[in-house]
Symmetry: C3
Subunit: 257 residues, 3 copies
């Protein structure tokens, strides 16, 4: 039983994800298909890459992960399959969406998906999730060697999270992801939070990093190290997005006290 | 392993879809249940019919498709099962929601679902997805002959997409579906787009049909033939719904240049 | 094949639910995982408890139900597993979210989940759905005896739906759940609706309980007994939330005519 996961910006209102699952059910009926997320903001390749990076470690190492955030669909951007040294396969457009889940030292092989006999025919100009990536994932789930899908290539497009700026006694990061609860995930790692710190985002100042959301009163802002190992600003039983008024891209300052 | 698909207007916030899956897991544990979409606009039977029509061809031919967009639930509207000549079974209310996926020449048999022993008991007046359609789909997945579910009937309620109006050198269609990206799908088929055309929707004019979204600059409107084989007006890396300001039902004109 | 269900307030935009499924697919690959709902309003433990109560009866009696609405994550609130006399297992935080699905006379055993060897390590302070509840559910799906997961305890936190106030000839309940359609579910049971009644909510008065939504004209308010056996105020082919202007917590009066 092979696991195939799906990460897209397709949302859940249209039948697009369901149609991809139809292709998989038709061509690889024994695969188990799992949704990682279809709520990646439209065309936000970096957010898709971040979501995929956070999810992959919790799946079986031999899983096949399909990620389709693909504003260049129908152009000459490449379709690729990345095989990692752990035995994981990543399938999607070569626009960086796979890159955070496959750091350079983890890449065993990259294949440019050119063998059209694995695709649906005719192939649309707007929905390669259905016409290219789902059928390729089905072939891989059925045991097709990635090498059969096209020529090996030496590189993939890479994206990077924005870096944290460091100066004496302070550090400036940013909000990189805002979740359903309105929690603000930053690019500041736990290892950047030594000692007593004050965290600033928009007009809000939070003293120290707490052990849980419930360390403060209801409606109060709180900083925690979240499940991704990153600094998060939340509001207990509330929404930091609304209360703090911050969004992805906004600066976050960490000052030593 | 039989595939059962679900298409509804139930949305994803409530437990209604989960409860239907509970009935299926209880009565047909070997079936594979796949969501086509639960984002059909509430009570929009035609949108549900369109979604189902687009999805069915990508599923195994022996799949069982359940569609519940059912504003007449609890009234005397019939519950039916349509068997197609391809071996596909469609289950839902007889209000047209199944009709676009089952054109007249593809219908092998229609059964009026009257055999209450296949339903849950008691049966509510508001949730036949749970009480009628899921248990009937479970019975079908377990191999029950549709003929056991009720008497054969000769006709079903049919809906039609709005027609395209043609005149010399021009053609007027309409927006029939707006997706999560804000892309505007029209009822104009690829075969209606011969030669050099200018497409008009709201105050926007688009010259020609492009090969991909990326044929224009970011934020610019673009016309493509989409994955349903229909003319679509989109905005590159944006939302045509917002930028163009159009919605389902709005007219779209095609003029030969 | 064991069924594991998931009920959370995580929403569908983030990868949180997908990551829980990754843990389950890794540790209990033979389990069938079904979403009950991830649209419980954030931190609304009572709504989660109500959703779980409505769903459990429609699943196989040996199913494992995981419910994570957990504003106290990371604090000393207990994690528990409730075994019912029917053979059902309920897993979640001990904050009441499991309590409506497990009335006192149905509880066979309660276990305090303390055996950390069943959890992921390290364990985050913010996502016990991933680190505690999914791996525990996987262990249970694989046949682990609940008694192996920690010591038996004698009680769980309990929540109750608000009671209905009764006086001569009238009764006051409230809206307890508003669904995707804008239908208003109340805490008034079918047995409270004897005789001819007039139902009031906000400024709207509805005469009598109808057999279906279609008993009134389009856009008109209607009262029905819904699929949960409770009085519901709806608007035919519309939204009572919008038309009536009511929300969860608002009073509903029932007067005998």
């Amino acid at each position: 039983m092979t696991v195939v996961t799906l990460t897209t910006d397709f949302g859940m209102t249209d039948p697009f994800v369901g149609i991809m699952k139809g292709v998989l059910a038709t061509r690889a009926p024994d695969a188990t298909v799992i949704d990682v997320s279809h709520g990646v903001p439209p065309q936000d390749v970096l957010a898709g890459a971040l979501v995929l990076r956070q999810a992959v470690p919790y799946f079986p190492p031999d899983a096949i992960h399909v990620a389709v955030v693909d504003p260049g669909v129908g152009t000459s951007r490449r379709a690729i399959c990345v095989a990692t040294t752990a035995g994981t396969l990543l399938v999607g457009p070569d626009n960086g969406v796979l890159s955070l889940a496959a750091p350079p030292d983890s890449v065993a092989k990259v294949v440019h998906l050119t063998q059209e006999r694995f695709f649906l025919s005719p192939r649309s100009a707007t929905f390669h999730g259905r016409d290219v990536f789902a059928p390729v994932a089905a072939a891989l789930a059925n045991g097709t060697d990635p090498a059969a899908l096209g020529p090996a290539i030496g590189d993939i497009e890479r994206l990077a999270l924005p870096p944290v700026a460091r100066s004496a006694g302070s550090l400036t990061g940013q909000v990189i992801y805002v979740d359903h609860f309105g929690n603000l995930t930053t690019n500041v790692a736990e290892s950047d939070l030594m000692g007593e710190v004050t965290i600033g985002v928009a007009a809000v100042r939070v003293r120290g990093v707490s052990a849980s959301y419930a360390a403060v009163g209801r409606g109060e802002p709180v900083a925690v190290v979240n499940s991704w190992g990153l600094l998060e600003i939340a509001v207990r039983d509330g929404s930091a997005r609304q209360t703090v008024g911050a969004k992805a891209g906004d600066p976050v300052t960490i000052e030593r006290r």
